[in-house]
Every structure is written in structure tokens, then in C-alpha cells.
């Protein structure tokens, strides 16, 4: 592809993958919920997400007495943009990625940090009590889990001698990082759940605060926010598949098929965790993050270092 064509094709490809990912997340979520609740998985899991989306399209968007209207619209947009930026650096095969940026890991760090800003802003802008409480408690958790990701991603960069994701995939030839650095994937999963404010780490949109940052959001603004969260979870799963599960590498099937398969496996696990594990208590999570998970992330770095020497 010429450089020009690439720049035009990139947004379409990324948006398509994210939209498909959001739909798959909704279907997986409905399927797991049906299984856990004992209702049995019916055909409605396929059409359900579309029906719910249609309802949000026709629903009146909520308003509050004095919101920060610009930020209220910017927050989901920023969040979706970050999910797209994150997905764009994922290599699909040895020869193709939307943008194989040299400092891919650094770019991911930016995505994760700014995602915290977007989620906080979404809760803050409405100027209502429960969303504000949710935003502040999310911030505490966000500033705690963020470091984990940095350490495990840097550990993955050590054997590759590069911050480029395609090089990191190549460095896993023969032995995936999930085996070589066993602590990396579980710690990264924590970051994925936190950044998508999902399942046990759904502190921003939790039901105990009447939906948290979405407590006073309805209609299309809510649809795009839910979609952006599912898209973020998709991007994170693709990243996990790339950095820890060998990305495009695998026998028989072509590279992109392996990336999709591995992404789906990670997605399914993350979505299932949402129905099996209770929401953490913010303060306890912060303590565990700093005193248990962060030392484990150091250990991950040491393991990677020793292995590379």
C-alpha cells in the first residue's frame, strides 16, 4: 500500500475491528450471564445487543442542571479515540500492521494514562453526586494499576531489544511470553479490566452507585460510552494476545486469524471474570496493588532480565 492509501484505510480498518469487537463483547457478556444465571444460552444473545443499541438510539439523551457539556461529550470521544490508537499499533501478521510504530510500547503507556483522564472526565462532567463519587474512587484505583502495565510491558520489551510490537512478537518465536514471563499476562489483565472499568474493577460504572459515571446518562451518549468501553476491552485483549501470546505466530492458519483467535480467548476470559468475581473495594484494591501486585511486577521484570542475560 502507498503511504496515502494506508492513512485512509487505517481508520476504516480500526473502526471496523473495534465495532466488531464491541459487538462480540456484548454477545459474550450476554452468553456468560445466561450461563451463570442458569437461564441457558439462547439465540437471543446474538440479536440482544443490537436491540439494546436500537433502544438507546431512540431514547432521549439525559441532561443535568449544569453539566460541563463540552467535557461530557469529549470524554467518550477521547476514550474511543484512545481505543483506536491502541489498536492501530497491533501487528496483524509479519508483514502487516496499521502502524508499526517504533515506540509502540510508549504509545500504549500514553493510551492507558489518558484513558484514566477520559473516565474521570466522564464522571466529573455531569455535575451529579453519584457519578462524581464514582469518578474519584476510580481515580484512586487507576493511579494504582497503571504502573503494573508499564512494568510488564517493559519486561516484554527486554528480550525483543525493542519497543516495537512487531519485534516483540518476533522475539516470542518458539516460546511465548506467557510462559517465559508468567506473571505478565495476569497483571496485564488487571490493567485491562481497570482501563475498561469492567467486572471486578468496574469502579467507575458500578451498580452500587446507580451506574456511577453513567448514573445520569441515557440515550446515544450512553450507547457510545458503553461501546467505547467494550472497544477498549477489545484493544486490550488484542494487545495481550500480541505481547504475551505470540501475536500472529501459529501453525497452519494465517497470521491475522491467529491474532483474532487469541484476542477472542483473552476477551472471553475477561468478560467471564466480570460475572464470577465481585467488585473490589477501592481502598483494599489500592493497598493490594501497591504492596502485592507491584512487587510481583518487579519480579516479572527480574525474571525477564535474568532470562535475557
Amino acid at each position: 500500500m502507498t503511504a496515502q492509501a494506508e492513512v485512509w484505510a487505517a481508520p476504516l480498518l480500526t473502526a471496523g475491528v473495534l465495532a466488531a469487537g464491541a459487538y462480540v463483547v456484548a454477545v459474550l457478556d450476554a452468553a456468560v450471564a445466561a450461563a451463570v444465571s442458569g437461564a441457558g444460552i439462547g439465540r437471543s444473545v446474538l440479536a440482544g445487543p443490537l436491540r439494546r443499541a436500537a433502544l438507546l438510539v431512540v431514547q432521549q439523551p439525559s441532561a443535568t442542571e449544569r453539566p460541563d457539556a463540552a467535557s461530557w461529550a469529549l470524554a467518550p470521544a477521547l476514550y474511543a479515540g484512545l481505543a483506536a490508537a491502541g489498536l492501530a499499533v497491533i501487528p496483524w501478521s509479519a508483514s502487516f500492521s496499521v502502524a508499526d510504530v517504533e515506540a509502540g510500547i510508549v504509545l500504549w503507556g500514553t493510551v492507558e494514562s489518558l484513558a484514566i483522564v477520559a473516565i474521570f472526565l466522564h464522571g466529573w462532567s455531569a455535575n451529579t453526586h453519584q457519578s462524581l463519587l464514582a469518578a474519584y474512587r476510580f481515580l484512586a484505583a487507576g493511579l494504582s494499576y497503571l504502573l503494573l502495565s508499564m512494568f510488564v510491558l517493559i519486561a516484554a520489551a527486554i528480550p525483543a531489544e525493542s519497543l516495537q510490537l512487531s519485534r516483540i512478537v518476533e522475539s516470542q518465536h518458539g516460546l511465548w511470553n506467557v510462559v517465559r514471563q508468567p506473571l505478565g499476562l495476569p497483571l496485564f489483565a488487571v490493567v485491562a479490566l481497570g482501563s475498561s472499568t469492567w467486572g471486578p474493577l468496574n469502579l467507575a460504572d458500578g451498580d452500587d452507585l446507580s451506574g456511577g459515571t453513567t448514573a445520569d446518562v441515557s440515550g446515544r451518549p450512553r450507547l457510545v460510552w458503553s461501546g467505547a468501553r467494550a472497544a477498549m476491552l477489545t484493544s486490550f485483549s488484542a494487545m495481550a494476545a500480541t505481547v504475551f501470546l505470540g501475536g500472529w505466530q501459529g501453525p497452519v492458519l494465517p497470521g491475522p486469524a491467529w491474532v483474532v483467535l487469541k484476542t477472542l480467548v483473552v476477551l472471553a476470559a475477561l468478560v467471564a471474570s466480570g460475572h464470577l468475581f465481585a467488585r473490589v473495594r477501592t481502598e483494599r484494591f489500592v493497598t493490594v496493588c501497591w504492596l502485592v501486585l507491584l512487587p510481583l511486577a518487579f519480579l516479572d521484570l527480574v525474571i525477564a532480565g535474568v532470562e535475557a542475560l
Binding site: A15, Q60, A77, A84, L107, H129, L143, I154, S210, D216
Partner: protein, 115 residues
């Protein structure tokens, strides 16, 4: 890099347009006053929600900043790690060791507890 920007701006732009079309710039002016009241389960609030919020975890955020700065050194460090070998390992070991002592100190001071 251009492709990353293009992808991100496309998603950013389309969502922004979607929300603005739905809600408009003046989100506060649409709808009746009772519709716009904050949801408090049938309760009410005397004041606006925005306030000088007591973020009781602020000592933790300072520890966070210390680590976040350190990250900037770690990116190039990771790239040259294999080349430099033991030296790089020892250097970062000292650095992380010091920061870990910082965490222990912060923990003893109760930075991660706020009840």
C-alpha cells in the same frame, strides 16, 4: 504514526459528533428542571455536586508520580538491556530498590489507607 493519528482522530471525531448531535453543546438546557435533577434515589441535594472534593488518597498520588518519572528512564533501558547486560541489571536494581523502600515507607505512614 500518521495512521495511528488518523485512526484515533476518526474514532474521536465520530463519537464527538454522535454525542453532540444527541445532546447539543448546551446539555444543561435541554429538558425540564425535574428531569435534570441529579438521581439520588428519590432524594434531593441542597447544593451542586461539584465541590472541593477531599481526595484522601493524595499521598498515594505522590508516590505514583515518583514511579511515573522513573518510567521514562526504563523505556530506553529496556532496549539496551541485553547489550549492556549485568551493568543495566544492577543499575535498575538499585533504582527500583530505592523506590521500593519508598513504598514501604509510604505504607508504614499509611499512604495507602484512608479510612
Amino acid at each position: 504514526m500518521l495512521s495511528v493519528l488518523a485512526s484515533a482522530s476518526a474514532a474521536f471525531g465520530s463519537v464527538l459528533v454522535a454525542v453532540f448531535l444527541a445532546r447539543g453543546w448546551r446539555a444543561g438546557k435541554k429538558g425540564l428542571w425535574p428531569f435534570r435533577a441529579p438521581f439520588l434515589g428519590g432524594g434531593i441535594s441542597e447544593t451542586h455536586a461539584w465541590s472541593r472534593f477531599h481526595a484522601r488518597y493524595y499521598p498515594m498520588t505522590l508516590v505514583f508520580v515518583a514511579f511515573e518519572m522513573e518510567m521514562m528512564f526504563m523505556y530506553p533501558w529496556a532496549v539496551v538491556f541485553v547489550e549492556e547486560g549485568m551493568t543495566a541489571f544492577a543499575d535498575m536494581g538499585v533504582f527500583l530498590g530505592l523506590l521500593s523502600l519508598g513504598i514501604l515507607y509510604a505504607w508504614r505512614e499509611g499512604a495507602f489507607r484512608w479510612q
